[in-house]
Assembly symmetry: C2
Homo-oligomer: 406 residues x 2
């Protein structure tokens, strides 16, 4: 959590961390600015000192909502520099050097945030030349923010619990919406007699999300039949909702404009479930429950992926463990941490080197995929390990395969 940053800096030998870039998709900048909505900015965090936010003068009021000390580019004469040098890149380099001088930055400085890879390479190479006494670096594996993100503090848990509640409510509202439709010729129809299609469901869903101040960025998965058998297929808007086909409904919204995520998946069959879907569903539920039971502080995260692969292999399915290129059977990792980004630490996959710890929030999401047989199944809860090491699901929506139709 955020209070770990000084310790994490010390462990890594970082005297200063710089977080920079445009705000869009920049979870680290949002994390450091406590959610204040600015277009771009630079946060300087020195060891054992409070962070400082440097941003455009037009954004000073929004920036102040971060609670950080705010300084503007104008205070560093960025616009004068740009005019003199005739070059925004050079002006930004000189501004960074001036910031380092003002805050007496020395030693090892690690850069974080979001930027164009080639430009970052050029900028940090040049900065290394300009400031030979400072060691410019970055992180290649588990970074300081990956570590900090992996556990949540009490303030974050308030936001996480709120979005969990809203997401579960909306899932229920969508199921109710579906159930209200009549069945004709094995498919759902709207009051006007036209087929109820995935696009209709998603439109209803997004309206409901909006009511709770949430957004899905168009990314919700509501995939039926063969598409349900391809984990990242989002479903085709034009496809009708038919009885007896598996529907993978993976809902992972966040607060409008950015904020904490919730991530949950349910698999549904309308009316009835065919035998092969039911069998796969029971197997997925079996290992889901076994994993939930087995989750324990101190265990390697990798262990749960292995346990899931072993179980599915015993049932006769291919897995990434038995065949790394398989596209049927169990074809993905078991889970991932989430917070301001949808995929973060810990990772419950075969290459994870992490262990379960109090404060972590992550998904558990086993699944089975048979695109060529026209179905897929996935069940996913977001879980939280409290300070005592107890595991709680934040996804309380029921896990019933069949939605009974009237």
């Amino acid at each position: 959590m955020k209070s770990d940053l000084d310790r994490l800096m010390q462990e890594r030998g970082f005297d200063t961390i710089v977080v920079m870039g445009l705000a869009e998709g920049n979870h680290t900048l949002r994390y450091m600015t406590n959610g204040a909505v600015i277009t771009e900015g630079i946060v300087i965090k020195q060891h054992d000192r409070q962070p400082v936010l440097i941003c455009g003068p037009m954004e000073r009021d929004e920036a102040a909502k971060s609670g950080l000390t705010v300084v503007t580019y104008a205070d560093f004469d960025l616009y004068k520099l740009a005019k003199e040098l005739g070059n925004a890149f050079e002006a930004n380099l000189h501004m960074m050097a001036a910031i380092f001088e003002r805050y007496q930055v020395t030693g090892t400085v690690s850069f974080n945030g979001v930027g164009d890879p080639g430009r970052s390479f050029m900028m940090l190479s040049r900065l290394s030349e300009m400031l030979p006494t400072i060691k410019i670096t970055g992180e290649t594996e588990t970074g300081i923010f990956d570590e900090a993100y992996a556990t949540k503090d009490a303030q974050e848990m308030v936001a996480i619990r709120t979005i969990a509640g809203h997401t579960n409510t909306v899932m229920g509202e969508v199921v109710d919406f579906i159930k209200r439709h009549e069945v004709r010729d094995n498919a759902l129809v709207k009051p006007d007699g036209k087929p109820l299609a995935i696009g209709d469901v998603k439109r209803f869903l997004r309206g409901r999300l909006l009511e709770y101040g949430l957004e899905d960025n168009g990314e919700t998965i509501f995939a039926i039949g063969r598409d349900a058998g391809i984990p990242h297929s989002r479903g085709e808007d034009g496809d009708p909702l038919k009885l007896g086909q598996s529907i993978v409904f993976d809902l992972f919204p966040r607060a409008l404009g950015g904020g904490y995520y919730h991530d949950m998946t349910r698999t549904f069959c309308l009316g009835y479930a065919p035998d092969d879907v039911r069998r796969a569903y029971d197997e997925v539920m079996h290992i889901f429950n076994d994993v939930m039971e087995a989750l324990a502080v101190g265990e390697p995260c990798r262990h749960y992926q292995e346990m899931t692969c072993d179980f599915f292999e015993q049932q006769g399915h291919k897995t990434l463990q038995s065949d790394p290129s398989t596209t049927e059977g169990y074809v993905h990792g078991l889970g991932h941490g989430l917070g301001l980004e949808i995929h973060s630490r810990p990772r419950l996959n075969a290459v994870s080197d992490e262990t379960l710890r109090p404060g972590q929030v992550f998904t558990v999401e086993p699944g089975l995929y048979y695109p060529d047989k026209g179905f897929g199944v996935r069940i996913e809860d977001t879980v939280y390990i409290d300070e005592k090491g107890e595991v709680h699901s934040l996804t309380l929506f029921p896990k019933d395969l069949v939605i009974a139709m009237k």
Copy 2:
């Protein structure tokens, strides 16, 4: 436009461009994948050859929608590499080297996209060492995609005109919504007698955007009074709509989940306009019309910012030209290009080195800001220069300051 890429590569001496990173906020990846929605990917574009998309095997179906040749990480044994090396960073480095070998990449390679700045620095430094015969580089000023983005092709203009139409329609629906409210004690009230607040307007707005398949990511500016005097203040949800106060309504949605933007601003006063707001409004409209009249292919973009500053200074206002740190008067650039990102080339500001060209789509948005006097004014259209060099506004919504209340 996209068809310029080979020429632009040749001009810069780039044999290959690589576009990489997570998809979120990665306009360049979206541009190259023609809008296909994948989580992350790598596009390799060699000179005079069609681009190739490399992504996770789970996303192969979505990736195929790009129309590009799709190859997956599994084809490059990424998962085996990660297991052998025990290190995702090294595995990705080796995969990149293997990709370069497979496609016989030689010469100069420029990297683009989105990434963590420190990690990009480490990765491209290491790749330079591993592949000493290849020159790894990035762009620091106007990049190849900045150039490509700056002009739009016919296919892009279809999407741009569609979103322009929808955005103008929604602006009208919001104005109608506001007008339907009763006035009591100089403020608008809802049917239940409670004050109509900015949050109510934004909730209505977002519902309407959704109907047209648009999203605002919570970023719409609807700011009243003093907040209208701070260009990037978005307005406070709890603030009531009062008569006689300037409202800056800056609406810049895009297609749900990402796509082309439209950007427009209108300033409104409900019921009546105070003299100082009216005077500022007339001045802003005066220079807006002068600029629209003066826009001409071949002219330096800088010219229009200077023209606007000169005019406002003649009227007795401070500008960034007369006082770079001013927070009142005219405090920003005149406009910016837009496309898949909200701010791109051309830039109509004091440091721009660009000229107006056919195919450009950009905003014209003069404004005057007096936070301490409790008001601000801005007018913004998105304009397009057609292949004949004629300038068209895509923002046809009327420019009336006062919204008459019943």
